[in-house]
Symmetry: C2
């Protein structure tokens, strides 16, 4: 990422974090209930360290948080971050809708088909 990070309120990291299927799966699993990192790691055909890194990416994107419980680290998804991503998509869609509205208002300016 070239940009320096405050530019977009973390949207870069947010969407980047979402662009990996393992990470999306982690979000799904943890949404059903907090899971320790090692519990998660057992689910994927990769090393513990790899999963640890994925969790770190999710954490830095704000999509999960970790809380210690004994020797385990429980991962919890943070739905607020998902909401932020959604709002970003809404904003993009709004630009497009604005265009549609502009086109519609052109159409509306045309007189409706004459009522009989």
């Amino acid at each position: 990422m070239v940009v320096d990070d405050a530019d977009d309120g973390g949207l870069n990291r947010l969407f980047h974090a979402l662009s990996d299927p393992t990470r999306r799966d982690v979000l799904r699993r943890c949404a059903r209930g907090d899971l320790s990192v090692s519990r998660l790691a057992a689910e994927y055909p990769m090393s513990f360290a790899a999963v640890q890194k994925h969790v770190t990416v999710l954490e830095q994107a704000g999509l999960v948080s970790k809380r210690r419980s004994g020797r385990e680290q429980l991962v919890r998804t943070e739905p607020d971050a998902l909401a932020r991503a959604r709002r970003a998509l809404d904003e993009l869609e709004a630009h497009w809708r604005g265009r549609v509205e502009r086109m519609s208002s052109l159409l509306e300016r045309e007189p409706p088909t004459r009522e009989p």
Copy 2:
């Protein structure tokens, strides 16, 4: 991307495409009205070829399409792709909501504070 691409219906490419601020800006600008690649390129502090690559990434993610018009190539945003991304986020949020509902139903199972 390690995964082989049909696994997720293109969500990897979709979110990856959205994870760059230049590309999100291209989407915004083209949403207001189709723009040629060179018109777009003029807006960013990078080479024409770099912008061309960004457009290609957006195109392969399904977020834009290009149509030729004379010697120009007009870029148009494809809101359906944005909708796909939104549905993916909704699905993730639904998992979390499911959890909340499960917690709620646990609470509901508890007897209400005794009525005197």
